[in-house]
C-alpha cells in the first residue's frame, strides 16, 4: 500500500540514533538538538501512526523492526512526551501495536511491554530514590494522577513565576534570586511545552524577565519557538509579554512583521476595516509605540515597497498600518511617551507635522488649503537643486505614502471643486504614483494627466454619458503610457465616476467594462475599499456616493 512506503526505513534508523543520543547525554547541546528536532519528529510519528492503524501488530513489527526500540526510548524522553501533540501520537502507536489475541510469547511480551510503557506515561513517577508513595497517597484520597499532575504543574509554574518575579516564596524553603544560567535552562525546557496552557504564565514571566547583565538570558530556541507559536495563534499571550519578546529578540520582530505582511497580501480582504483589524490583532501597531520597534517595522515596509516597485496594495497597507499605529499611540497612556513626530525623523519636520493631521481633524473646507501647503513643501524639497539626492527624494515620498489618504483627497478635490490649484494637486498625484527623480518623465506624466483631467472636466456637467465617451476622454494618442500614469489616470476616472452626475449613472457599466478589458480588478477594488474606508471614518452614511461605492463593492466581491 502506498501508505506503507510513506514511512522511509531510513528515518527509523535516523530517529533511533537520535533517541539513543538524547537518552545518553543530558548536555545542553543535546537538549537544544531535541528542541530543534521536535516538529520533524512529530511529523514522523504521525506518519508512522497513519501506517500502523491499517496493520495488525505482527505485520507492524515485521515491517518496522525498530519500532519497539524507538517508541520505547521516546516514551522516556520528557521533551518528546511533552511536545505539542506528540504524546498522543506515541500512545496511539502503542495502541496499534497491542495485539488482542497474542499468538506467541513474543506478542505476549510485547503486550506487557506496551502496558508498562503506558503506565509509565500516565502514573505518578516515583522520583529517584525518594519512593515517597505519592501514587498510593492520592489513590487513597480518591484522586487520580490526572488530578495530581494538573495541580502539580500549576504549582511548579506558580513557584517558578514567583521566583522569576524575585519575590520570596512562602513555602517550606525560601528561595533567593535565580541565576541567569538557571533561567536560560528553564526557558529551553519550556520549548516543548509552549502550547500547554498551564505553562502560559511561566512563558510570560520568562519573556518579561531580564537578567543581571546586558546579555540575553533566554535561550534563542525558546524565543523563536514562542514567536512562531504566537504567530500561528496557537497560544494567547499578554500584550506586554509579546512586546517584551519583540524588544529583546529582533529576528522575532522581523518574522512577525513579515508574517503580518504575508497575511495581508495572501488573505482576500473585502474591506480596509478588515485589514485594520488584522493589523491591530498582530499587536504590531501597539508594539510600534516603542520607537526602535517602529523603526524596524517601517524599514521592512520600505523594503517591501521597493521590492514591489511601489504597488498600490503595499502603499495601502502602509497607510492603514500608520493609522492603526497613530491610534495605538493615542491610546498609550505611558507617562513618557515620545511625540508622534519623533517617529518620522525626516529633515523637514513641518511636513511631518502637516501630514500627521488627519483629514477628519480639519473641516472639509480647509482640505484644499492644507493639501496645497503639503504639496508646496514637498515640491520645494524635491525641486531644491542644492539637496537633490535620490535618498532625499525617496524618503520624502515614503513619508507621504504613510499618509496616502491625502492623495485620495487630492483626487477628490480635483474633481469636486474646480480649483485654481489643479496644477498643484496633479503634481502631488504624479509624485505619489511616480517618485522618480527624472524631471522630464514627471513633466511627461503631468502633461498626460492634465490632458485627461481637462477632458474629464468638460464632461463633468454632462448628465448623460456613454462608456465610450469616457473611454475616449481617458485614452491617449501614444501607447507608451507608463504604468504609473495608468494608475493615475484610473484614479482620476474612478473619482469622476463617483463624483460626477453623468459618471454616477454609468459607473457600474464602466467599471465592469474597464475591468474586463484591462484586468485591473485588484487596483479598482483597492481604490474602492480605500474610499469606503475613508467615508466610514468620516462618518458618511446616507449620501448617494456612499451608496454607489457600496454597490460597486458588492458587485466586485460577487465577481470574485
Amino acid at each position: 500500500m502506498a501508505q506503507h512506503t510513506a514511512v522511509p526505513k531510513l528515518s527509523f534508523q535516523y530517529w533511533l540514533d537520535k533517541a539513543v543520543a538524547w537518552g545518553q547525554t543530558t548536555t545542553l547541546e543535546s537538549q537544544q538538538d531535541v528542541c530543534l528536532q521536535l516538529p520533524k519528529l512529530q511529523e514522523f510519528l504521525q506518519q508512522i501512526y497513519e501506517s500502523l492503524k491499517h496493520m495488525n501488530s505482527t505485520t507492524a513489527l515485521q515491517r518496522f523492526p525498530l519500532i519497539g526500540q524507538l517508541l520505547g526510548r521516546l516514551c522516556w524522553n520528557p521533551f518528546v512526551v511533552g511536545y505539542d501533540e506528540s504524546q498522543k501520537t506515541l500512545m496511539w502507536c502503542l495502541c496499534c501495536l497491542y495485539s488482542n489475541e497474542p499468538q506467541n510469547p513474543v506478542e505476549l511480551k510485547a503486550n506487557s511491554w506496551i502496558l508498562s510503557l503506558l503506565c509509565h506515561l500516565l502514573s505518578p513517577s516515583e522520583w529517584g530514590a525518594n519512593k515517597v508513595g505519592t501514587g498510593t497517597f492520592i489513590s487513597a484520597l480518591g484522586y487520580t494522577s490526572a488530578d495530581y499532575y494538573s495541580k502539580l504543574v500549576k504549582n511548579i509554574v506558580l513557584s517558578l513565576v514567583t521566583e522569576l518575579k524575585g519575590n520570596q516564596f512562602n513555602g517550606l524553603n525560601i528561595q533567593g534570586r535565580v541565576s541567569d544560567d538557571h533561567v536560560n535552562i528553564v526557558s529551553l525546557f519550556c520549548v516543548p511545552l509552549i502550547t500547554l496552557p498551564d505553562v502560559t504564565p511561566l512563558l510570560e514571566a520568562l519573556l518579561t524577565y531580564h537578567g543581571g547583565g546586558s546579555q540575553e538570558v533566554l535561550s534563542s530556541e525558546f524565543l523563536e519557538a514562542v514567536n512562531e507559536t504566537f504567530l500561528k495563534k496557537k497560544i494567547v499571550l499578554s500584550e506586554s509579554a509579546v512586546l517584551s519578546l519583540w524588544l529583546r529578540h529582533l529576528p522575532s520582530l522581523e518574522k512577525a512583521t513579515l508574517h503580518l505582511f504575508g497575511r495581508l497580501i495572501s488573505t482576500q480582504t473585502s474591506s480596509l476595516e478588515e485589514v485594520a483589524c488584522i493589523i491591530k490583532e498582530s499587536l504590531l501597531p501597539q508594539a510600534a509605540c516603542y520607537p526602535p520597534i517602529f523603526r524596524i517595522v517601517d524599514e521592512i515596509f520600505k523594503n517591501a515597497l521597493m521590492e514591489t516597485g511601489g504597488t498600490p496594495e503595499v502603499m495601502t497597507i502602509i497607510q492603514v498600518f500608520t493609522q492603526c499605529f497613530i491610534q495605538a499611540h493615542q491610546k498609550d497612556n505611558k507617562q513618557h511617551k515620545f511625540p508622534l513626530k519623533a517617529y518620522f525623523p525626516h529633515h523637514h519636520q513641518h511636513l511631518v507635522i502637516a501630514l500627521l493631521k488627519h483629514p477628519f481633524d480639519l473641516p472639509a473646507t480647509l482640505w484644499s488649503q492644507h493639501l496645497k501647503y503639503i504639496t508646496d513643501m514637498l515640491k520645494a524639497i524635491i525641486e531644491d537643486k542644492s539637496v537633490r539626492s535620490y535618498t532625499d527624494l525617496f524618503e520624502s515620498w515614503f513619508l507621504f505614502v504613510h499618509f496616502g489618504e491625502w492623495a485620495d483627497i487630492a483626487v477628490e478635490q480635483l474633481l469636486k471643486s474646480e480649483d485654481e490649484s489643479s496644477d498643484t494637486f496633479l503634481w502631488l498625484l504624479a509624485f505619489y504614483y511616480n517618485p522618480n527623480s527624472d524631471k522630464e518623465q514627471r513633466t511627461q506624466i503631468l502633461v498626460e494627466a492634465r490632458a485627461v483631467y481637462d477632458r474629464l472636466m468638460m464632461l463633468f456637467s454632462c448628465t448623460t454619458l456613454s462608456v465610450a465617451d469616457l473611454q475616449a476622454a481617458a485614452s491617449t494618442k501614444t501607447d507608451k503610457r507608463q504604468p504609473c500614469t495608468k494608475h493615475l489616470v484610473r484614479h482620476l476616472l474612478f473619482s469622476f465616476l463617483l463624483f460626477s452626475s453623468g459618471g454616477h449613472k454609468i459607473a457600474q457599466e464602466f467599471i465592469s467594462h474597464v475591468i474586463l478589458a484591462s484586468n485591473t480588478t485588484n487596483e479598482v477594488f483597492g481604490l474602492l475599499i480605500r474610499t469606503a474606508y475613508r467615508f466610514n471614518q468620516l462618518g458618511l452614511k446616507n449620501q448617494r456616493v456612499v451608496k454607489l461605492v457600496n454597490e460597486l463593492l458588492q458587485e466586485l466581491r460577487f465577481m470574485d
Binding site: 480518591g142 490526572a146 504549582n155
Partner: protein, 367 residues
C-alpha cells in the same frame, strides 16, 4: 430516587473489581459496560453537582458499609479516569478486553472532536519532569524541591477532598479520610496543608498570630484530629524538622504548647552518661525518644522563632530546671545543660565545666 441511590451504591464495587483479579473473566462487552457505567456516573455528578441536598445524600450512600478509604460524591465525577487508570494498571485484564480498553481510552474518538484526558495527563507529567528538578546546579537540592512541590500538591488534593466531604456533611469530620491515608506520608502532607492554609490566610505574620488564634476552618479540623491522640502528634513531631514545627506553632498556637510538652517529655527521658560526658537515650531505646543533639536543635529552633514561642520555651525550661534543683552545673539536669550549652543562656560563666565541643554558639543567639 431509590433507583438512583441503588445505582450509586454500585460505584465502590465497580472500582474495587477494576483493581482486583476478578477482571480476569472480562470480555470486551463487559469492559464496555464498565466504561459506560463510568461515564454514566460522571454524568450524574455533572447533573447533581449544584444540588447540595442530593449531593449529600449520594455522598452518604457512597460511604455506607465501606471498608478502607471512604468514597465521596467527587468520585462520581472522576469515575472514568479512576476506572480507566485502574484497569490500565491491572495485569489480570485479558488481552481482548485490554485491547478494547486501550482503543476506547486512548485512540481519537471517531467523529468526536473532544480529545481524551490521557494525552493531557501524559503531557503534564512530562511538563512536571522538565520543570521540576532545576536542571542546572541550582543552590537548592533538587530532591527537596520535588518533595516540596509534590507535598504541596498532595496537600491541596487532601484539602479539596476534605472540603468535598464537608459539603456532603460527612459526620465523622476529617477523621473518616485521614485515618485511612498511608502513614507516615499523611503527616508530611498535613504539615504542608497547615503551612499552605496559614500562608493563604495570613495577611501578615503578626496579624495571623494575633487574630487567627484558632486558625482557618479546614486547618482547625485537621489540627484537632492531629492533637486528638498523643501517638499521632508524637509521630508528627518526630517526623518533621524543628524549624517547620516552630513555623507551624507560630501560626497555630494550639500546636505550640503540646509540641513543647512533647519536647520536655522527650528530654526527661535522657540520662547523663558520666563516662562519655554526654546525655544519652535510656537503656532500652524505644521509638518515642529523641537524641540530645536533636533535642538541642529543636529547642534552638524555638529560640530563633517569634517572641511568644521563644519566651514560652524559655519559661518552660527554666521552670523544669528549678524543679531539678536549679543547679548551674553541667551534667546534672538536662534542662540546665540545654539552657547553658545549647541555647547559650547561662547564669554564670561555667565553660570550664563543659566539654569544649559543646561551647554555645553565641553568634546564633536570637536578637
Amino acid at each position: 430516587m431509590e433507583t438512583l441511590l441503588w445505582q450509586v451504591e454500585q460505584l465502590p464495587g465497580l472500582l474495587a473489581v477494576s483493581r482486583s483479579g476478578q477482571v480476569r473473566d472480562w470480555d470486551p462487552p463487559t469492559l464496555d459496560r464498565a466504561l459506560q457505567w463510568g461515564r454514566y456516573f460522571q454524568h450524574l455528578h455533572g447533573r447533581f453537582r449544584a444540588q447540595p441536598r442530593l449531593r449529600a445524600a449520594l455522598g452518604q450512600r457512597l460511604r455506607r458499609g465501606q471498608h478502607g478509604p471512604p468514597l465521596g460524591f467527587g468520585h462520581l465525577g472522576r469515575c472514568p479516569e479512576l476506572l480507566g487508570l485502574a484497569l490500565l494498571g491491572n495485569r489480570a485484564l485479558p488481552p481482548a478486553a485490554c485491547h478494547r480498553l486501550l482503543r476506547s481510552l486512548l485512540l481519537p474518538p471517531s467523529g468526536q472532536a473532544t480529545p481524551g484526558p490521557f494525552g493531557l495527563l501524559a503531557r503534564r507529567r512530562a511538563a512536571a519532569q522538565l520543570l521540576l528538578p532545576p536542571p542546572s546546579p541550582a543552590p537548592a537540592r533538587p530532591e527537596e524541591l520535588e518533595l516540596e512541590q509534590s507535598l504541596r500538591t498532595e496537600a491541596q488534593l487532601l484539602l479539596s477532598r476534605l472540603q468535598e466531604d464537608e459539603e456532603e456533611e460527612e459526620e465523622q469530620g476529617p477523621a473518616g479520610v485521614l485515618e485511612h491515608l498511608p502513614r507516615p506520608r499523611v503527616y508530611r502532607v498535613l504539615a504542608a496543608l497547615l503551612l499552605e492554609q496559614a500562608g493563604d490566610n495570613a495577611g501578615g505574620e503578626g496579624a495571623s498570630w494575633a487574630e487567627h488564634r484558632e486558625g482557618p476552618r479546614p486547618a482547625a479540623a485537621v489540627l484537632s484530629w492531629l492533637l486528638g491522640e498523643p501517638g499521632r502528634l508524637s509521630v508528627f513531631c518526630r517526623l518533621l524538622p524543628g524549624s517547620l514545627l516552630v513555623a507551624l506553632s507560630a501560626r497555630y498556637p494550639q500546636l505550640g504548647t503540646p509540641y513543647l510538652h512533647l519536647l520536655t517529655n522527650w528530654g526527661s527521658r535522657l540520662r547523663y552518661d558520666p563516662l562519655s560526658g554526654q546525655w544519652a537515650s535510656s537503656r532500652c531505646p524505644s521509638e518515642d525518644e529523641l537524641s540530645w543533639e536533636e533535642l538541642r536543635e529543636r529547642f534552638s529552633c524555638f529560640m530563633r522563632g517569634p517572641a511568644p514561642l521563644r519566651e514560652a520555651a524559655l519559661a518552660s525550661l527554666k521552670n523544669l530546671k528549678i524543679q531539678d534543683g536549679d543547679f548551674e552545673v553541667c551534667g546534672l539536669s538536662v534542662w540546665t545543660d540545654l539552657l547553658l550549652d545549647a541555647l547559650g543562656i547561662g547564669f554564670c560563666s561555667c565553660t570550664c565545666w563543659c566539654k569544649p565541643g559543646l561551647t554555645p554558639p553565641l553568634q546564633e543567639l536570637p536578637m
